[in-house]
Subunit: 358 residues, 2 copies
Amino acid sequence: MATIYEVAKLAGVSPATVSRVFNGMGVSEEKALAVREAARQLRFSPNRTARTLRRQESEVIALVIPDIENPYFTELARGVEDVAQSAGYSVVLCNTDSDLDKESTYLQIAISEHMAGVILAAASDHTNLDDIMAAGRPVVAVDRGTGYDIDGVVMANRTAGQAATENLVQSGYRRIACITGPEHIETAYERAQGWRAVIARNFPDADPDELLRFSTFRVDGGRDVMEELLALPEPPDAVVAANNMLGVGAIQVLTEHGLTPPRVGVAVVGSLPFTTLSPSVVTVVRLPARHMGVTAARMLLERINGDDQPARTIVLRNELQPARTAAPASSATRSSAAASSTVPATATPVAAPETTRA
Amino acid sequence: MATIYEVAKLAGVSPATVSRVFNGMGVSEEKALAVREAARQLRFSPNRTARTLRRQESEVIALVIPDIENPYFTELARGVEDVAQSAGYSVVLCNTDSDLDKESTYLQIAISEHMAGVILAAASDHTNLDDIMAAGRPVVAVDRGTGYDIDGVVMANRTAGQAATENLVQSGYRRIACITGPEHIETAYERAQGWRAVIARNFPDADPDELLRFSTFRVDGGRDVMEELLALPEPPDAVVAANNMLGVGAIQVLTEHGLTPPRVGVAVVGSLPFTTLSPSVVTVVRLPARHMGVTAARMLLERINGDDQPARTIVLRNELQPARTAAPASSATRSSAAASSTVPATATPVAAPETTRA
DNA sequence: GTGAAAGCGCTAACAT
DNA sequence: ATGTTAGCGCTTTCAC
């Protein structure tokens, strides 16, 4: 590739002038034109590596996520991308596979490539950010906290778990299980806490943890644990899945056992973008993943531009999309309120964020 | 961050020696130890930007895809990642949204960041690779060709379209529509060609294109076009969806109309990882996306390492997973062969690649 | 085996 | 407004 020196020579100016043209500094119209023409002829495109080395900062931001195959995270990625792109940044996606080593490798790369900042959905609560903080790179946490005092955007997880569970209770289910992710992941724990609270309130005599299962946040995890629950002497009549993947796994297993919802009630925290269920047989607590990405990207850009106000945490509100069908007749009383609170399947709700200072 | 100069001073050696230690060149055991210790103390990590500028090559490869929200491409990404990682390369994912401008921006970045190579699922057949070829960066095409004489890995698209259609014919369906992607995308066109061939052979009197629809390769596209088909005076009794997203959209609409498969037959080219359908009511032609990623990454690494044999194209074989249920009784004769060729829902077939020289 | 020194392509003082 | 120049941190000849 051509360099600014070659362009400068062809245009009859100094390298500095070429650089100025490409960085929007003050250059006379005449010379600017000559430079652009020369650059075009030589198919010149500035060497970002050299620029980054010199400037000590690149125009790329890293989005570090635990599972690229989870539509929740790809939706998040779209939000980040859209904001970043229009601000002139490119986004590189790093998939950690929930592996702390991979995650720390990517964070190290972010440092040593002088990336402008990082948006991180931490692999666990043990993620170490010492180095990247020391390097002065802004980091925004998404989906999960980190234990560091940094900006973050999270879902209202406890509320989401509660809403999902309450909906099942109101539909008349009475043995409601909960399938969630690894206990050391904040979202998994908090959504389960929401479930716990509703169960304790409605069924004070129930052994709270008999029907609670920690697993992975993946389809397989949902499958395994659902099988386990069905094999119980007294299986549940409904289940809360703490994320989309678990929900898919659980529904698959139920379907295979001939227990398609609503024969067994299902409520899922998270959207199911690629399911093909008949309209709304499962309750969904929609998580505004795209919006989370947009918000996080905006916060990161602010930090990149030097904003140094105290760290903020933004909690995004979720939206309940109740199932249209209620529990089968064999189940107990069902509130008529539940049946009436339906929502068209095609509704595209807008998530309103509620802001909190950390 | 610390530099090699600081490490060198602390270890009592020259910067060159520090560099050698970190690049596995011959250095005495004694000095190597001192360097490592100094590096540890200073939390030194080599500056990749400087290295890349000097070496004119970085250890990252770009994976450029049209839709990061499509599970087919994320599965592909996993394959690429696994191979790349174990070879010491990191992968950055670039989402073009099927937009030629975004795509060309990313290709430009790949050049100017001196990336080691690119794996590209082209946004269309108009993708311009002149610059990146001129820069001497290896490019491997995946999923779709590019019009350039470069390495590639593709699915057997025509065969896949045929297999999907044939399965519906054998199940007794007789008015079989085809929903496919944009005509200028190779995979969309070829899968439709497979459908065309089977229809022409079995129903020579049918107007071949009455039931053919080009759309986008997205859920919405599948929905819109499925609605259109159902509104026909004589709607189809079955449909071939040319990719996973179209399949999801089509099935959603059918379900909403109370026409859940197999009342209307559905065959999909591509896997449906997140569906929750009862076991195998739709026929799936499984596409080995992960395998495609693995293969492409291996080819790219060979090129990066200087291999300069003629360009190769590898065609991956697909695998038919027939629906377990056949057409409803209202449909015409159904071959008993179809009913017997079932496959357990849990089977995880291994895709065998077949190699071809371009 | 080891060190000295040049230079990758760019940007940002500084000087004019 | 424009040119000159030093230097970002590393790798790699070239001497020794």
